[in-house]
C-alpha cells in the first residue's frame, strides 16, 4: 500500500461517514454522517452511551468493516480503494487492537499470544520483539504463563503487548478497562499514555468519564452522530505511573 502522506499531519480523516446494517428488509442506520480528523500522535477518546455506534466506528477506522457511505482516508490514502488483502496488510503493519474481552488464545502462552500477529509475516527475531513488548507493559516475568493463570489486568496488558508487536502507528482500544478493577484500569491507561508519549496515536473507545479523561481530546457521539467535542482540561496523568506496574 502506498503511504504517501497528505500535506496535513492528519493520520485519519473521515468525512460524512455512514454505516447502515441491512437485515432482511430492516434497515438499521448506525453511523449517520460523521466527520472526524485525528492528528498523527494524538490521543483521543470516543465517548457515548451504549449502542451509539462507538464500536462500529472503531471497526471501520480499524479496517475490519466497511462504511456504506462517506469517505475515510488513512495516512492520506482513500481506504475504499484498498483490496481485502491490502486491508489485512494495513491491519498487520500499521495498527493494533485492544478489546474489552482481551481475546487471548487460552492454550497459548503469554509470549505465544503476543507473537500471534507475527505468524502472518516473516520475522527472524520475533521472540525478542515479543519480549520487548511484554517488558514495556511490565510482564517480562509472565512469558510462559497461560492466560487462565493471569489476572484481568495482566491479560489486558498481554493484549496490549500483542497490539504493540508490529510497532503500529495507531492503537485502537475498545473499552479496554471495561472488564478491569480500577487499579488494573489505571495501569492500563498509564501504559496507553506512555505509548502515546512514544508517538503512537491512540484511539480509545469508552463510556466512562474518568477513563476518557486520560486522553487529550474527547469526541462525544450519540445516535450515530458527533454530538460534541472537547479538549480535556485537567487531564489525568500519571507522571510517577511506573510504580503502578510494580
Amino acid at each position: 500500500m502506498a503511504t504517501k502522506k497528505k500535506s496535513e499531519e492528519h493520520i485519519i480523516e473521515i468525512n460524512n461517514l455512514k454505516k447502515t446494517y441491512y437485515t432482511g428488509d430492516v434497515e438499521t442506520p448506525v453511523l449517520r454522517g460523521l466527520d472526524l480528523k485525528v492528528k498523527d500522535g494524538e490521543f483521543i477518546a470516543i465517548m457515548g452511551p451504549s449502542g451509539s455506534g462507538k464500536s462500529t466506528l472503531m471497526h471501520i477506522m480499524g479496517f475490519l468493516d466497511k462504511p456504506t457511505g462517506g469517505s475515510y482516508h488513512f495516512e492520506g490514502v482513500d481506504v475504499s480503494e484498498l483490496s481485502d488483502d491490502d486491508l489485512a496488510l494495513v491491519r498487520r503493519e500499521r495498527i493494533g487492537f485492544v478489546f474489552q474481552a482481551f481475546f487471548l488464545l487460552p492454550r497459548a502462552t503469554v509470549i505465544e499470544n503476543v507473537m500471534l500477529p507475527l505468524l502472518y509475516q516473516k520475522h527472524s527475531h520475533g521472540h525478542d520483539m515479543a519480549k520487548k513488548a511484554l517488558d514495556s507493559v511490565g510482564l517480562s516475568h509472565r512469558l510462559d504463563y497461560l492466560p487462565t493463570s493471569l489476572s484481568g489486568g495482566e491479560k489486558q496488558r498481554t493484549a496490549i503487548a500483542r497490539a504493540l508487536i508490529n510497532a503500529p502507528s495507531v492503537i485502537f482500544a475498545d473499552e479496554p478497562t471495561g472488564n478491569l478493577d480500577s487499579k488494573s484500569g489505571k495501569q492500563v491507561m498509564n501504559i496507553f499514555q506512555k505509548l502515546n508519549e512514544k508517538g503512537h496515536t491512540i484511539i480509545l473507545v469508552t463510556h466512562e468519564k474518568t477513563t476518557a479523561q486520560h486522553a487529550e481530546r474527547i469526541i462525544h457521539i450519540r445516535d450515530g452522530l458527533i454530538e460534541s467535542e472537547e479538549k480535556v482540561k485537567g487531564r489525568i496523568n500519571y507522571s510517577d505511573g511506573d510504580e503502578l506496574l510494580k
Binding site: 475490519l64 488483502d85 489485512a88 503493519e93 488464545l105 492454550r107 500471534l116 505468524l119 508490529n166
Partner: protein, 411 residues
C-alpha cells in the same frame, strides 16, 4: 505448494494444540481407516507368503493329475470323480518323463487305539509318496511295493497322530482300527509341519490299494502326483497324451473341455493364488477407500463445527492481519495435518495390530509369516493427507469468509 505448507504448519500446530480433544476425535475416522488398511493388507500379504510358501514346499516340478476337465472345477466334480483309474497310474509309472508317480485317495476316518479315538485324514498312497513330497520316515518303514500288491493292512502315522494315540509309547507293531478295519502300524513319519492346506503330521498313510479294497470299494483315484523329469511343459504335454490315449479321447486341437482330466502344475497353482490375492487386494482396497472417505467426511464435519466454534479466534486472527488466504490455508493445513498425523497413528496401530494377530496366528499355524505391506503404508499416509486437504477445503473456505466483526463484538 510445499513451501506454503511449511509456512502454515506452525500456525496449524498452535491451533491443533488449542483444540486437542476435538482434534483427536477428528482423527479417529482416519486412524480407523488407515489402521484397518494397514492391518488388512499386512494380513493379506502374510497369508500370501504363507500360501506361496506352502506351494513352493514341494518344488516346481511336481504336477497333479486330477479327474474332470478344467470346466468342471479345479479338483474335479463329483460326477467326474471316477475318471482317474488305478490303471492310469500303472501306465504313468512306466513312462520315462515322470518319476515318483504317486496315486492318491484321501478319506476322513475315525482312528482308534484302545480308548484313544481321533478323527483324521487317512491317505492312500504308494512307496513314492515320501520322495515325491520330500518327507521322510522317522522310525520303522513306509508303504512298500509288497504292501501295494498284496493290499496289506498296514499304516504309517504322522508324528502328531502317533503322539495323540500312543503318547510316549512306541507305536510300531501295535494294531489300530481305521473305521472298522484293523491296521498294523509299521512306521512313524518325521515331523513335517503343515501349510495353508494340510496338516501332514496328523495324517495316517496306508497303501492306496488297501484303501480301495477295504475302505472304499472303488478302483479310481482322486489324484495322481508325479515329478516331471526334464522340461516341465513337454512333460505335461506327453502326460496328457498318454492319458488321452488310455481314455480314448481324440483331442489333437488340445481343447481342455474335451479332456476328462486336468493337470495342475505348481506354476498354475501359484497363478491361482495370485489371482485370489489380487481379488483380496481389490476387496480390501475398496473397503479401505470407503472407510477413508467416511473418515474424510468426519474431518469435514468436525472442521465445520470447529470453524463455527472458532469464529472469535478467526476474527482475532484477521484483526491482527491475517488475510482470507492465510485463514484458508491455516484451516486446510490443519485438516491436512490432522489427517496426516491420524494416518501415522493409524499406520502404527495397524502395524501393532498386525503383529498381535501374528502372535495369535502362530499359535495355530507356526509357519505363518509376519509381513507389512509397505506400499499400502506409504499410499495410505499420502492419501490421508490428501483427504484432509480435500475435505478440509470447504470448511476452510467458510472460515476464510467469516466476518471478523461478528466474532469480535463483545456480548
Amino acid at each position: 505448494m510445499i513451501k506454503t505448507f511449511t509456512k502454515y504448519l506452525p500456525i496449524a500446530w498452535v491451533s491443533i494444540k488449542e483444540n486437542m480433544a476435538r482434534t483427536l476425535l477428528t482423527m479417529l475416522g482416519i486412524i480407523i481407516g488407515v489402521g484397518s488398511v494397514v492391518l488388512m493388507t499386512s494380513l493379506g500379504k502374510g497369508a500370501e507368503s504363507y500360501i506361496l510358501g506352502s506351494v513352493a514346499q514341494f518344488g516346481p516340478d511336481v504336477i497333479y493329475i486330477n479327474p474332470g476337465s478344467p470346466d468342471e472345477g479345479l479338483t474335479g466334480s463329483i460326477t467326474a470323480l471316477d475318471r482317474l483309474k488305478y490303471s492310469d497310474y500303472l501306465a504313468l509309472r512306466e513312462v520315462d518323463f515322470l518319476k515318483d508317480v504317486t496315486p492318491f485317495l484321501a478319506y476322513d476316518a475315525i482312528v482308534t487305539w484302545r480308548n484313544e479315538t481321533h478323527k483324521t485324514q487317512v491317505i492312500g498312497v504308494n512307496k513314492n509318496y515320501p520322495s515325491a513330497f520330500n518327507f521322510s520316515v522317522a522310525s520303522g518303514r513306509f508303504v512298500d511295493d509288497n504292501d501295494m500288491s498284496s493290499r496289506q493292512r498296514i499304516a504309517v502315522l504322522g508324528v502328531k497322530m502317533a503322539d495323540k494315540l500312543f503318547d510316549n509309547r512306541d507305536p510300531i507293531g501295535e494294531t489300530i482300527k481305521i473305521a472298522t478295519t484293523n491296521f498294523k502300524i509299521v512306521g512313524v513319519m518325521e515331523e513335517q509341519g503343515g501349510n495353508a492346506f494340510e496338516d501332514y503330521d496328523n495324517m495316517v498313510f496306508i497303501p492306496v490299494t488297501t484303501m480301495q479294497t477295504y475302505l472304499f470299494g472303488v478302483d479310481y483315484l482322486m489324484t495322481i502326483a508325479a515329478r516331471v523329469v526334464g522340461d516341465l511343459e513337454s512333460g505335461v504335454e506327453k502326460t496328457k497324451n498318454v492319458i488321452r490315449h488310455l481314455h480314448r479321447i481324440d483331442n489333437p486341437e488340445e481343447d481342455p473341455a474335451k479332456d476328462d482330466f486336468q493337470i495342475i502344475t505348481q506354476v498354475q497353482a501359484l497363478d491361482i493364488f495370485g489371482t485370489v490375492s489380487d481379488v483380496l487386494t481389490y476387496f480390501i482396497t475398496s473397503i479401505a477407500s470407503i472407510s477413508l472417505i467416511v473418515g474424510g467426511i468426519g474431518i469435514m464435519n468436525i472442521m465445520y463445527v470447529s470453524v463455527s466454534q472458532r469464529t472469535r479466534e478467526i476474527g482475532l486472527r484477521k484483526a491482527v492481519g491475517a488475510t482470507n488466504r492465510d485463514v484458508l490455508m491455516q484451516f486446510i493445513s490443519e485438516a491436512a495435518l490432522i489427517s496426516f498425523v491420524g494416518g501415522l497413528i493409524g499406520i502404527c496401530s495397524g502395524i501393532g495390530l498386525s503383529f498381535l494377530f501374528y502372535l495369535v496366528i502362530i499359535q495355530f499355524e507356526p509357519s505363518w509369516v509376519f509381513a507389512i505391506n509397505f506400499e499400502a503404508v506409504i499410499l495410505s499416509s499420502v492419501i490421508s493427507a490428501l483427504i484432509g486437504i480435500f475435505f478440509g477445503y470447504y470448511p476452510a473456505k467458510r472460515a476464510a469468509a467469516a466476518n471478523p466483526i461478528e466474532a469480535l463484538r463483545y456480548e
